[in-house]
Amino acid sequence: MIEIKNVSKKYEDINALSGVSFDMPEGQVFGLVGTNGAGKSTLLRCICGVCKPDEGDILVDGEPVYENPEAKKKMFFISDDQYYYPGSNSEEMAKFYRTMYPETFSMERFSDLMESLSLDKKRRIQTFSKGMKKQLAIMLGIASGCKYILCDETFDGLDPVVRQAVKRLFIHDMEEAGITPVIASHNLRELEDICEYVGLLHKGGVILSKDLEDMKLGIYKVQVVFKESASLETVRNNLKVISEEHRGSLVTLTIRGGRTEVETVISSQVPVFYEVLPLTLEEIFISETEVLGYDFTGITKQ
């Protein structure tokens, strides 16, 4: 398990992370989502020991990670723009990582993966497309045999086929080898398919961190048509309404709370029609950040 305890990090005068605390349980795909500049990359860089937090601790399986090779050899960091030595080919990069992860790196696995993705091991990496470079980084990460694979915007730039293949690989290795992929991304639809656990970052702090299903159970979207406007007021007073949208008489409410509680309050107002809909991760994200003032709906009015 990766434990993040009250971690803060500053870049000159900018607070990249301030007092972030949550746990990343092992054996699950952890999605790290957040607004632009929320500190996702910084957090990943701190977790893999690239950066040292100004305050707080990061423990990997109970061990501090910074400058600790024993903890770091359980982790492979795939940055959003992975570095490859100039003039090198995939095989040479694999050899590099084999030197760095001598206990776990499998050249055979790497070769097989490269073959299945139709990537030439001998081809110079600088002739690769952006997507191919991403594929290579992921293959290196998987072949490293590390327990934790930290992916920063890794799915960006991958075509849908490879994206699916990578997801399958992650799920397979998670089940078979017990790896824990940590994926930071903006693409919430992608994460929703694969992630079981989600941490939501905003302005360097954690808004929430929980199991995706639990998260969905605690927040609902309700489409409702009331006979009288007073009914809406009653709902507002009795439930935690995060947002509401009006289209004619149809009102769409985002409400925090248990499903039974929500249904009881709404049905008590005898609406003409109502339907409780599940929220996507993206909707949860928008709702949660809107509450914190991260809302640009007014941009079209200017």
Partner: protein, 692 residues
Amino acid sequence: MTSPESQNSNPVTEAEKMNSEIKNTQNTEKKEVVKTPETPKNTGITFTSLLLEDFRHRRWMLVLSSIVQFFCGPFFTLFVLSRYEPRYNPELSYLELVRQIRDSAETLCGYLAVLALVVAAVGAVIVGFGGFRHLFNKRMTDMINSVPVKRGKMFAVIYTNGLLMWIVPFLFFGAISFIEIAVKLGKYGVMSMVFGHFLMTLAGAAFAFFCIYNLVVLCTAISGTIFNAIVNFVCLGFEASAFYLIVYYMSEAYFQNFWRSAVDYLDISCISAPISGCAFGFLIAAGSETATEIFATPLRTVCFILTVVICIANILIGYRVYVTRKSEEAENGTSGKVYKFVLRFASSILAGLYTAFMVNQIVGYSGNYGWCIFIAACFSALAFGVMDIIQKKSFRAFFAHRGQMILSIAATLIILAVFIFDVINFDNHIVPENNIASATVRMRINNYYWSDNGDGFIPVEGMPGCITWDEASYNDIYSGEVEISAELAGKIMRAEKIYFGEFDPEYGSRAYSYDPVTGRENPLPLDEWSMYYDYAQVYFNVDRNTGLDFLRSYRIADKDLLEEISKTEGYKESNYRLNCGLLGYPESVKITDDYGNAIYTLTYDEVQKFMSVYFDEFNKNFDTYGINYMNQRYYAVQIQCSYEMIYNSYSSGSHYFYILVGEKDTATVRMIERLTGMPVDSFMDQDDLYYG
């Protein structure tokens, strides 16, 4: 050209195919994948494996190093040896042949030592910057810092690899050069000497390499870009020396009685790793006898030790900075707030002072310092702003630290004022007599030839008829040094002096007399100050109880005081040692007119006689030739000495110099008249008197 991603023509089919392949891969690997996190396959990351890995990614450095060292070693050796071969004339006697061969082997070793030093210096810069280049690239830094290797270990690996990339080719090609010399010249018994040279060259080059390499590593560790690293290298490597030089130049230019610094440049060079590394490296490479110069004075010994300490400190600081350095500093400017300020501050002052000094030198000494001060302020501000831009990588940063910029300008102007207006009262400083531990004095009575005591000409032992010209001492135009009492030293310090003040467009520099006790200064009358030969230059060296040397060069016109100095015990012996034997064997003596035209050339016998008469008379009438010589008319007598030059290579020729015969030296004057058959006044212009 087909796009790399356009290969998937049918995504669905391709996806299915890929998924099934991946699945197959997973099945075949299943056992291994499950095992990998727990079961180690290898022993771990060893230092050697990291070394090889690092080497794999910068093989080009080794190739470059090898190519350069090949051309500077075996290739050059073979080239020189083939050039020397025609010199080994079989008609020479065996001993002469051996001497020739030993000489050429020694010369070759000297060249090789210099080349090795150059390669070491350049190599240190390239290997140092190249090895730690990941610090200039965020992505590379992230990759290096994310792998499970301690930063200290990574540092050690990169550092060691850099070292090996220089030393392995050096030893290899050095050995080949050694073998080439052994094959060509080995039978003449030069091998022990060549081997000794090789070891000393290795030691010297290694020393230079360490000094420069360590500084480069430190500069890389504190910088986020290669440009900043180079700027830091230049600043840390040369700024302190540049400060020393500007203080020296300005002291010479603005202080009336500054002579030289108590600390020479080699002594002070320990403040610059590249300079001291190369200087001491050269001394070591030059051979065991020359290497003792490192320990020639206690100060130099201390400096050598300091150089070593600074060299080690540089790498320790570099290591510390590397280990604690934040990853995010890659691609930024320079790290460390205090350090950055010090660098800006120092560079700003240096730029201001150097520019002002240069302008002053170009425009000339005018006594009008307005422009000088204005330019110093402008360039000080400019340098400060530019350094800020470099450090912050933003043009907006020019005025980012206005307060500090003003502080730098103020510091520049204060330092400039110290020199221009003698704020520290340098020229009038008098050491209390009870602080004087010992004092020495040398005088120069304003004539180059007259004061030459012949030290530059050395008879060659065992080679009759030959003299050699010692270039170093030839330039020493000062008369001999003599110890004086503290009381006399006090008198010299308090005596009235002459100095040249403001510029007069008609007459040039105007002379003043000033009294250092009262600070009173009087312009000398035009007809007096234009005859500014009427003084003796007194070079004065006082050792204080405090341990600091007090060095001054005064222009003193007080003849009583000068005579008192000249009557000091040992003064005569130390100053007038000129004699015929010491000069070797002059071929001819020409008596010339005012314009150097020969009136008469003496025969060989006459030369010998003339020299003995001249020197007898000279020594007998020492006092006449001493201080009273000033204001006396003299006649120039040209002496031609044949010589053989033994300085790097053999050559022979003649050297001319003049002896000035004073009009009161009646014996010599009479002899000249007898020899030429003419009264001296007939060929010496009465209206064009020379003054000693």
